[in-house]
Symmetry: C2
Subunit: 629 residues, 2 copies
């Protein structure tokens, strides 16, 4: 591992075409905010017209929330060795509350920076870290509470709206914007997301924008119950496999399919260097679990962990630009015995590390006792808390038990502490929970943690389907998202069994995009049904290409179709292989419509003349039935 | 297609080993009922002991509801040319209310039987059909209403209990039988399913046992809200592909993975012969949509359909042994215009056929006007109704609209008509429905259709994921099952795109087994959590083999694990490739337990001596934490 990976050694290092190929019939469009440097990217999917007997009907382009960053932009030059454009640098500068350091201030960071043996692995253009002026607080929550709308807040407001206000004013979208009323279980989703609404949600702690000042490359996104439900993905090498190059490729792959944030859970020996490559090339916020790296530094012995070592790790990672830290500060000594009767004990890695530390020292968890000191670090870089659920259930039997809910109450206490420092917080949740017990998790989190955003792993609604746990957990995720969870941590088919490969990651992400979108629809998020309506209209009209292109995974939709009907002609065929050319319900329905038209009045004529009486007559004759007149 | 398929030409025709391979470490066990010919099959999964420092702890075998029939029984001889054993023949005989006919009485059946060109395709040992004596009614509902408990009812009672009463009396299962309280939304699930409860549920129409007297090979199963949620799968060739042999193989494959019933939706030219092969070899009830075949008989022209032709088709299929018919009798002329403003019109094939017929003739649907005559046929063979939802929504936008709910009300009216004939009924449901609108479907069905079992297709909770619609619909299916749907019709990844292959079918079925099981757990079905608890205990104790064997899909779980850690030694390794050997939460948890034990008292000793005080002391010392004492 001492040689630089081959692709990085090329003049312009590139990830593979496989992960950057632009989506079909899509263009990257930017909506400008109140100033030229606020440019919010969307993917816009063009559609073909509907071919009717009369003039073709135009089908307008559909904007799609886009997490893929510059990687799918044919106009962008990607050079992993340079990293992405410093999108937020100017915004941070102009706030005037930070200073550049000479270099890393953590002990570990300095050691790694000085080690000549690591030169070949190292990202070349490491910026010195920024830090808040002494005594300053650079968190988005701090700004929000001061009444300031930052460019980050405006960016996410535009992003969340997905151009809905423009579309509402455009008659081409009228029918496409029809949507069922939602059931949001007490969420407060506005008809339009304004920058002021974003500011207010952040100020009251109901949403966070994870955005470390040392990760200016990211495209800001927001996590909160009154916004689109988000999806987190995990990557990470392990003792068994993976290289730096693979990890960066995984990041791009994750962003491509819709991962909103990414947790780097690497545990190998070059995690510091891997993390730098990931951060410099990531358009999405990056989270970590610092205790994992701390544990590596003490050769895997939890009892040897110290606050000083952990603190150094926090600073090391904050200076690199990690946007949120999972901190298992709720695993208090008193809760550990509550896991005694569990079927699967403590299954969270962080939870078991801290439990072991507490027992070895017979002391309270130092993450809990040092929490205020941790907050001081967080606010100097705007790192957000993801308060870890170290006692989450590892099976249905252990769901919603005293250990889990005891910890949750402590997370609420810590939330208030963090908020006293104006530090952003989200709360991690389970795990394995049967369907009828899922809602209690959200209700309790909202109450105990004062509506801080909830961020759950699944939950899996049964334990008996290893190899299909993206699905068992996707069911739980859709429900928990509907009830009010703000972000869903994905699960791949390899969960419990092994390391996911590229296809597993894609399956996991798409499953979670489905869950998140199902939740948005169920909550009645404005405009959420647009893509569904457009795709369904395309499906009904046999516009196969549009159907593929509007899908969450256009490539696989096309592949699956082509397995049975590969010819280009079939892309416009009014049938598919399911029923064959003579037996397709959609074809029959269209035949009925043609029949109706043949009775003497075309749909267009009926529509234009507004012949209500005529239409009634046709209905009575069994004719005009497929259009409202 | 005139030559007999090669495998059938062999002396003992066999499906491939792939679909009949017994499940690992499992045996087929039979529980005998009140008489020797009631023998209910289960699969029983043996487990290895837990290796502890003391004496190994025995882990008892886990019984699993088994739909696979004799195909996974190494003691059974499978010969597709002979068909399966006539399990129910004696039960039907002894009721003395049926008579053998000389041969098929339908015109079409006679024509096919007499055609020498079909000899090579034909199942060899066709029994003459049975039929009720003139004026008699042989439906399970009729018997139930007379107060008779049939062997079929006793069989399903034993089957539903899954040996729970035996297990409750066995101390080895005490912890494994822990289960969360359910939320059943008004279902009436008893602690133990008795034959009398089954009879009562059938008598009041809340459950059905689809079991045509001409399909004596089936192992009876029950569909109702107070029983385990069931899964239907679909097979069927189409104009584009498939042979008889493939269809039989698909049937066995479906039953293997847990399909409870199977609908044969074939539309090819030899569907009569294909159906015979399927029925004679099917341990699960078979459903069809007779209008599909009727349409074939009029060369695909709906307007040429007649009652006489349809009636002949019903008799043809009833005499072969089809257990339930989807009949789109609710697509009334008056509802058709209500689909005018829909995004996707009428997407049900049966619905669009009948809509076209109604419009062409400007007459009421003949399935509606002839409903009493259809009931007369149903009760002569005990064919159950699956009242089709021909106006189900084909996209989210069309969900829960006036057309859909208008038809549902008519299905309620027809339910009462069928019940007046003592004919068994279930009600088909959607389709595409956003999560927040799913429950309304169940509530309305229960009210409008008087709690007749609901049988839904998904529903898909978003339209934007073609290629992943097993998942979009699995989410809806888990929820609708929880709310009270009795059977879930599966959807494969190829839905909307093409014909599923073998792996697609497996993915679809397992997804739906997950959904059905999640619903059983959520409703609190007694004993439902047993398999979850056993698998989770195995997982926690690193009994990899047991974890695989207890999974819904043992083969894929093992494959996925072996992709990263193929060696046999890893099957007992206390780590997996996700975290590597030095960084596994479960390992850490076990280390903590060992540490606790090392403090001086083993878990066993503590348990035996019941040393409550000692335990408290250990907790205070941070020691004994993983067992309740």
């Amino acid at each position: 591992m001492s040689a630089i990976p081959e692709s990085f050694a090329r003049k312009t290092a590139q990830v593979s075409a496989d992960v950057t190929r632009p989506f079909p019939n899509s263009e990257k469009v930017f909506v400008q905010g109140s100033r030229p440097d606020i440019r919010v990217p969307f993917r816009q999917v063009a559609q073909s017209p509907t071919l009717t007997s009369g003039t073709p009907e135009e089908n307008p382009p559909i904007p799609v929330y886009d997490t893929s960053g510059p990687y799918t932009d044919p106009d962008a030059t990607i050079d992993l060795r340079q990293g992405l454009t410093d999108l937020r640098g100017g915004w941070i500068d102009e706030r005037g509350d930070t200073e550049w350091q000479d270099g890393p201030s953590s002990e570990y960071g300095r050691v790694r920076a000085a080690d000549p043996e690591l030169a070949s692995l190292r990202f070349e253009h490491i910026r010195p870290p920024r830090r808040a002026h002494a005594g300053a607080n650079v968190s988005q929550m701090h700004y929000a509470r001061q009444g300031t709308i930052t460019p980050e807040m405006e960016f996410v407001a535009i992003r969340e709206n997905n151009r809905l206000q423009e579309l509402r004013a455009d008659p081409r979208y009228k029918k496409l914007l029809r949507q069922h009323a939602g059931e949001s279980f007490g969420a407060s989703i506005p008809e339009a997301i304004t920058p002021e609404f974003v500011r207010d949600e952040i100020a009251r702690g109901r949403a966070i924008i994870p955005a470390n000042i040392n990760h200016p490359e990211l495209e800001p996104m927001i996590i909160g119950r009154n916004f689109r439900v988000k999806v987190n993905t995990n990557i990470g090498n392990s003792a068994v496999s993976s290289s730096i190059e693979e990890e960066v490729e995984k990041l791009v792959w994750s962003a491509r399919w819709g991962g909103d944030t990414l947790m780097d859970l690497s545990t190998g020996k070059n995690i510091h260097e891997t993390r730098e490559w990931i951060l410099r090339n990531s358009p999405v916020p990056i989270g970590t679990v610092p205790i994992y790296q701390a544990l590596e530094k003490v050769d895997g012995k939890p009892e040897d962990l110290t606050w000083e070592l952990f603190r150094d790790t926090l600073i090391e990672q904050a200076e690199q630009g990690v946007d949120y830290f999972t901190i298992h500060a709720g695993v208090r000594l008193q809760y550990v015995p509550l896991t005694a009767d569990r079927v699967t004990g403590i299954v969270s890695r962080g939870g078991s590390i801290m439990a072991k530390w507490c027992l070895a020292h017979h002391e309270e968890n130092f993450l809990y006792t040092r929490f205020d000191e941790i907050c001081e670090i967080m606010k100097a870089f705007d790192v957000s808390f993801s308060l870890g659920d170290g006692l989450r259930p590892g099976c249905l039997a252990d769901a919603n038990d005293a250990a889990q809910f005891g910890e949750l109450e402590t997370l609420g206490e810590l939330t208030q502490k963090a908020w006293a420092h104006d530090v952003q917080v989200m709360i991690e949740g389970p795990g394995h929970v049967p369907l009828q017990k899922v809602k209690e998790n959200v209700d309790k989190e909202l109450e105990d943690c004062f509506e801080a955003p909830f961020y759950t792993l699944g939950p899996l609604v049964t334990d008996i389907a290893p190899a299909y746990d993206h699905i068992t957990s996707g069911i739980g995720a859709a429900n928990i998202g509907w009830y009010g969870t703000a972000m869903l941590c994905y699960v791949t088919p390899k969960e419990h069994l092994g390391l996911p490969n590229k296809q597993d990651v894609r399956d996991g992400i798409i499953t979670y995009k489905i869950a998140a979108h199902a939740a948005d629809l169920a909550k009645g998020f404005p405009g959420a049904q647009l893509q569904d309506n457009a795709l369904s209209k395309a499906r009904f009209e046999f516009r196969w290409e549009d159907q593929f292109n509007l899908a969450l995974d256009p490539e696989r939709a096309r592949e699956f179709h082509d397995e049975t009907l590969p010819k280009d002609a079939h892309k416009v065929a009014h049938f598919c292989s399911m029923c064959g050319p003579n037996f397709c319900s959609m074809k029959i329905t269209q035949d009925v419509r043609d029949y109706a038209a043949a009775q003497g009045v075309s749909e267009d004529e009926a529509l234009k003349k507004g012949m209500q009486e005529k239409a009634v007559e046709f209905v009575n004759k069994g004719a005009q039935i497929y259009r409202e007149v």
